[in-house]
């Protein structure tokens, strides 16, 4: 068994670009999924009954489906439904966003619910309206509770971007496996792929730990 690790170096440009795509996908997904998740959570909690049910159905659906299936489904079904010819990247982004929005909606809902009733009552006793109470008393407290979970969701999302490789989005997993197929350097490329994910993911995981320690909720 002869190993040739230079393959990794030779294809470094492709790998770097692919890593960039992975990071971009993560950022873009969160940029969509955080505000959308908050909106869906608010709808679940405060909208009128039919809308509440719809929002709940959406959340329950996407929390109970494998993401890889959603990716495939988005790739084949979305173009037909929307009539748009979406690039694999856009499709992947859509699938990821649909999935993470559902998780964030649940996170925000739990966060908003976890603030004691007395807080709202105290705010309203001061004369605040419901919206004011929400904005000035509930949401700031909820954000504190929600931040550690969002950070953890971010790290999961970073790993989940690897799943859009199945529809040939040129992120890290896809490109690494392409190079493997072209060069037949299986062990080297797969190990390099794992190593790059590790190098990027490990510090993120530690950062999440720090955030969770810092924002630990004590009542």
């Amino acid at each position: 068994m002869t190993l040739d690790w230079s393959v990794v170096w030779q294809h470094r440009e492709a790998l770097v670009a692919a890593t960039g795509t992975t990071i971009l996908l993560t950022i873009a997904t969160m940029a969509i999924a955080v505000p959308c998740g908050l909106m869906v959570a608010a709808l679940r909690l405060y909208a009128w009954a039919p809308v509440r049910t719809l929002a709940t159905a959406y959340v329950e659906l996407f929390r109970n489906l494998p993401l890889i299936l959603v990716v495939f489904w988005a790739f084949y079904v979305l173009p037909i439904w929307t009539g748009l010819g979406l690039s694999p990247l856009a499709t992947g982004l859509a699938a990821l966003a649909l999935n993470v929005t559902a998780y964030n909606a649940e996170t925000f809902r739990a966060g908003l619910n976890s603030i004691r009733r007395g807080q709202v009552e105290a705010a309203m006793a001061l004369g605040m309206s419901r919206t004011q109470a929400l904005r000035r008393v509930i949401v700031p407290q909820a954000l504190r509770r929600v931040l550690p979970v969002l950070a953890s969701t971010w790290v999961s999302l970073f790993k989940d971007t690897s799943l859009v490789s199945v529809i040939a989005v040129t992120e890290l997993a896809y490109v690494a496996m392409q190079v493997r197929a072209q060069t037949f350097r299986v062990l080297e490329m797969l190990t390099a792929m794992a190593a790059i994910y590790w190098l990027l993911g490990y510090p993120q995981a530690k950062l999440v730990d720090w955030i969770q320690r810092k924002y630990r909720v004590t009542e």
């Binding site: 495939f72 084949y76 792929m193 590790w198 990027l200 490990y202």
Partner: protein, 219 residues
């Protein structure tokens, strides 16, 4: 939409469901058992073992399960000389990845039991081992139920990723049928229904059980 494609291939698809169930059950069991050992090693093991265990757990937080599966199936044979059929490679890969997750659930559960409980048991004259076995673990198990509900859900979803290394589970079988019949909408919609019906009861069921026994874990 023409769902006859489903009925035409129902035996093929059903075999996929069986494999999904088998792989989920097996990897669930092995990763919970392994995770328990890892958690005990981390909390009660010798000092030098701790950083190794933590490195393992944090690495699994950084590396996607897709990467672990692909590496186990393609790269491990080169390094370790053992070739495994896709199903067993998937079992090994899933266990290694999921054990880190379950180890953290165990640790959080055990640490969440009030220290006063340990003190009360010590005051009666119990040994540390007795306290863990008779007082802390029974309460911790109850407290961990919701987290393990999620864990089971994640395990089932991760088996779908095993389709990437050609394990003939349900996702893979669906892909094959879709590839032959060119009816992705019907096939993947059906797949979504099946997975939802698998996953939704798991978390709901655990929730129901938990609500019944939660008082046994509250001290």
């Amino acid at each position: 939409m023409d769902f006859s494609v489903i009925t035409d291939h129902w035996r093929f698809l059903a075999s996929g469901v069986l494999v999904t169930l088998a792989l989920s059950a097996l990897s669930g069991v092995t990763s919970i058992a392994a995770g328990f050992v890892v958690a005990l090693a981390r909390m009660y093991g010798p000092r030098w073992l701790r950083p190794i265990v933590i490195l393992y757990i944090d690495s699994m937080r950084a590396i996607p399960v897709l990467v672990v599966l692909v590496w186990t199936f393609f790269a491990l044979p080169i390094v370790g000389g053992i070739t495994m059929a896709p199903f067993w490679a998937a079992l090994v890969g899933l266990t290694v990845h999921l054990a880190a997750y379950s180890a953290e659930i165990f640790r959080a559960g055990i640490e969440s039991v009030r220290p006063g409980q340990t003190r009360a048991a010590l005051a009666l004259g119990m040994s540390r081992a007795q306290i863990l076995r008779r007082i802390v673990l029974p309460q911790a198990v109850v407290r961990m139920l919701p987290a393990f509900g999620s864990f089971l859900s994640v395990t089932i979803k991760d088996t779908a990723i095993a389709s990437v290394i050609a394990v003939p589970e349900f996702m893979r079988q669906s892909e094959t049928v879709q590839g032959q019949t060119f009816q992705p909408i019907e096939v993947y919609t059906f797949a979504m229904v099946v997975y939802f019906l698998l996953l939704f009861p798991v978390t709901r069921g655990v929730d129901l059980v938990y609500r019944r026994v939660a008082h046994l874990g509250r001290s």
